[in-house]
């Protein structure tokens, strides 16, 4: 009779059921009021975590009985976006306040993840401190505002003064046309073939970096655009698109940029910041205004000499046409979940995290461009790094991505076009035609416009 083990197994099963039941809270218990805050954290990006920890302290001190639960997600930008979206899909896991990329705002509003903040913002004293451009960063297609920016960024040419001077190019250097970039790069190459003269990202490896820090600077400098904001249609068949691809082809074919194999490595940017520019092996690259955050004390690639060694120039338009420069902007915001049980408290926490003190700390520590007038005027901000004034001025010539729900696919189609061209698989004309075809497939014929 082998009954004893079986009975004990039943007993264990019964115990498990009881234990499970005991875990769920009974009705009638007073529920602690908590706010969950979801944000990104990486080895080299703790500026936000520090700010949110400060804000948590301030907020809990001012609102007794309320706990702020910080939920960091350790991931790169892409994976953070995915994990946040997965959390937002279910009301049980959706955070009350979260860190949101500006270019995801429109799609996430369409998905119903974000709470409309217009009424709350009207009553917020500090809202008038935000510039008009910054306010637009959180605006959705319906005209409402759903997110408040922490800071923004711009893109510029970062060049190593010593490398340029060795090749006989006077600094400060400011190219006025694409041709001047090529002329300078060829001079550097002729002077020292071991140096990478002028790098621009291309291919799928660097992802959004390829478009934000390379292709769009070219495209928007031709007068063409990716998306017609007025007609709300995607532009296909533009001469500017082909011209931009041709420029990249020239850079890569003549060996003025890194090799195609290096360009397709997702980690190439680490070498740009960590090795090539500090060691004088690269003349110039197109990178974000946050570049100094890597070289500052405490950054991933500390380089005390960057303040004197590096120079910054605005990216020129194709033939020097108005407005004489191009930049791209992104940036991150804080937003409130549409399903939050405590909308007032959540918004209050958002304003605490974005008050002058916290916004200043964030903008300085992560080399962001201030979006609050009082932060921009603060002496601590203006002396945060030697380039802050120059990169802040680029806000005048900057562009934003057309961040619709279709955008990630379109962006990948652009990256594929650059990859096909620099690897020699296709000519710029062929790659442009493939891009046009892909866009038509993604958004449908009625949403494209031939230009």
């Amino acid at each position: 009779m082998n009954l004893r083990p079986r009975l004990s197994a039943i007993a264990v099963a019964a115990l498990m059921v009881v234990a499970t039941a005991a875990c769920s809270p009974g009705p009638g218990e007073p529920q602690a009021r908590t706010l969950t805050v979801m944000y990104q954290k990486t080895d080299s990006f703790v500026a936000l975590e520090n700010v949110l920890k400060d804000a948590k302290g301030e907020f809990e001190a001012a609102n007794s009985g309320i706990t702020v639960e910080l939920e960091p997600i350790q991931a790169n930008d892409d994976d953070y976006g995915t994990k946040l979206a997965l959390a937002q899909r279910s009301p049980e896991t959706a955070p009350d306040v979260f860190y949101e990329d500006t270019f995801k705002v429109r799609a996430d509003v369409e998905a119903g993840y974000l709470l409309k903040l217009d009424e709350h913002l009207q009553k917020w004293e500090d809202w008038k401190q935000f510039s008009e451009g910054a306010k637009a960063a959180g605006r959705a297609d319906d005209g409402g505002i759903y997110a408040v920016p922490l800071g923004t960024d711009t893109r510029a040419i970062w060049y190593n003064k010593t490398v340029l001077q060795k090749a006989g190019i006077p600094v400060p250097w400011q190219p006025r046309t694409w041709q001047e970039i090529l002329d300078t790069a060829r001079k550097i190459k002729a002077n020292d073939p071991s140096v990478v003269p002028f790098n621009m990202y291309a291919g799928k490896g660097t992802g959004e970096g390829t478009v934000m820090q390379s292709f769009y600077e070219l495209l928007y400098g031709t007068g063409a655009a990716l998306y017609d904001e007025k007609d709300r249609k995607w532009v296909v068949g533009s001469q500017g698109f082909t011209d931009s691809l041709t420029f990249l082809k020239t850079l890569y074919d003549e060996g003025l940029a890194v090799t195609p194999a290096e360009a397709l490595d997702a980690n190439v940017w680490k070498k740009v910041f960590g090795e090539w520019l500090p060691q004088g092996k690269m003349g110039a690259t197109v990178e974000g205004s946050y570049a100094p955050s890597f070289w500052q004390a405490g950054g991933s690639y500390e380089w005390p000499g960057y303040a004197t060694e590096m120079g910054v120039a605005r990216f020129p338009t194709q033939n020097g046409q108005e407005p004489g420069g191009v930049s791209m902007s992104g940036g991150w915001t804080l937003a409130v979940g549409a399903g939050t049980a405590e909308p007032d408290l959540a918004f209050k926490f958002l304003t605490t995290a974005l008050n002058k003190k916290n916004a200043l700390a964030f903008d300085i520590n992560s080399s962001q461009i201030a979006v609050r007038a009082d932060v921009a005027a603060d002496p601590a901000y203006q002396s945060a790094n030697p380039f802050i004034k120059e990169v802040s001025e680029l806000v005048d010539v900057t562009h934003y991505r057309p961040a619709t729900a279709d955008y990630p696919r379109i962006s990948t189609a652009v990256q594929v076009a650059t990859e096909s061209v620099i690897t020699g698989k296709q000519s710029p004309d062929e790659a442009g035609a493939v891009y046009d075809q892909t866009v038509r497939e993604i958004v449908g014929d009625d949403k494209v416009i031939q230009k």
Binding site: T82, K104, E110, A111, G203, A261, E262, L264, T423
Partner: protein, 310 residues
């Protein structure tokens, strides 16, 4: 609440007659496995069913259809057939599984096991540790190790430079070869272990008898050893095929499917579609195809196993 229950069962045991006990035995026979069945259904079957159902909708990570997905029938599958990257992915997956698992791991694992059964104890221990160490590494660590090896400035090129040869950028120029070799390196230990166990069970008297009859070592391998371990071969093939079909981390870390989709196998394609582009519907459709391919292999091997037993 639990205490009285236990007492009830305890008293049942004392008063129950034999027939009572056996009917209780019958009715409660499956009770102990209920928790594990519930867990399996909840955490294994449910996601598969969810994934399969999602592949008929336009559910996405963000945008309009994130919370209110619409039933689109076979649209995702129709799009897959028209998408040039899909057949390319299927082909790369077949090449990857055939080269790195069915041929590579399988034959290399068998070869190693045969050699080790003949080698001295010390040599076979050292070789065993060397091979198994790749297998016990977590996949992410093995992936980074392989990346560091094949990278442009990696170990392989440094070794080549030491003997005066110039390497190339392996992950760029030969991405499929690199990931196949990496998977071969990582997975061979499993086949080796399976075959070592199988070879140990081959009766010595049969091969000794064959030896007496004048059979050479190749003949003994082909006519004695392999037929005896046939069922181990089929089991091993099934397991490594399914494992390799699902390899994602290794490829994602080494090449991320690039350059220009040259190493985008089906799991990588499914991930890109579902999470990079947020198109969960299409991504799950690709995942469903992986499940179908896996089951086809699984059924084929199971039938093979069955036929062997007379």
């Amino acid at each position: 609440m639990s205490a009285p229950k236990i007492r009830n069962f305890a008293s049942l045991r004392n008063i129950g007659s034999l027939s009572n006990v056996s009917s209780l035995k019958r009715s409660t026979r499956f009770l102990p496995v209920v928790p594990s069945v519930v867990l399996l259904v909840l955490f294994l079957l449910a996601p598969v069913v969810w994934s399969f159902v999602s592949s008929f909708t336009d559910v996405s990570l963000s945008g309009k259809s994130a919370r209110n997905p619409v039933w689109v029938g076979l649209d995702n599958y129709a799009r897959m057939i028209g998408d040039p990257s899909f057949p390319a992915s299927v082909w790369l997956t077949v090449v990857f599984v055939a080269a790195s698992a069915v041929v590579g791991q399988n034959i290399l694992g068998l070869g190693l096991a045969l050699l080790m059964s003949r080698a001295g104890r010390a040599i076979s221990a050292v070789a065993g540790i060397a091979v198994v160490s790749a297998w016990i590494l977590p996949e992410i660590v093995a992936a980074f190790a392989a990346y560091a090896y094949f990278n442009r400035d990696g170990t392989l090129n440094q070794l080549l430079a030491a003997i005066g040869l110039e390497g190339t950028d392996w992950l760029y120029s030969f991405p499929m070869t690199a990931i196949i070799l990496a998977n071969l390196w990582r997975g061979t230990a499993f086949s080796m272990l399976v075959y070592r166990a199988a070879l140990a069970a081959v009766p010595r008297d049969i091969s000794e008898a064959a030896l007496m009859d004048g059979a050479g070592s190749w003949q003994r391998l082909a006519f004695i050893t392999l037929p005896v371990i046939r069922s181990s071969i089929a089991t091993n093939l099934m397991l490594i095929t399914l494992q390799t079909l699902a390899v994602f981390t290794l490829i994602w870390i080494m090449t991320a499917g690039g350059p220009a989709n040259a190493s985008t196998t089906l799991p990588v394609l499914a991930y890109q579609e579902a999470f990079k582009f947020g198109d969960i519907g299409y991504g799950t459709a690709v995942a469903s195809v992986i499940i179908v391919i896996g089951s086809v292999f699984g059924i084929a091997y199971v039938r093979l196993l069955r036929q062997e037993r007379p």
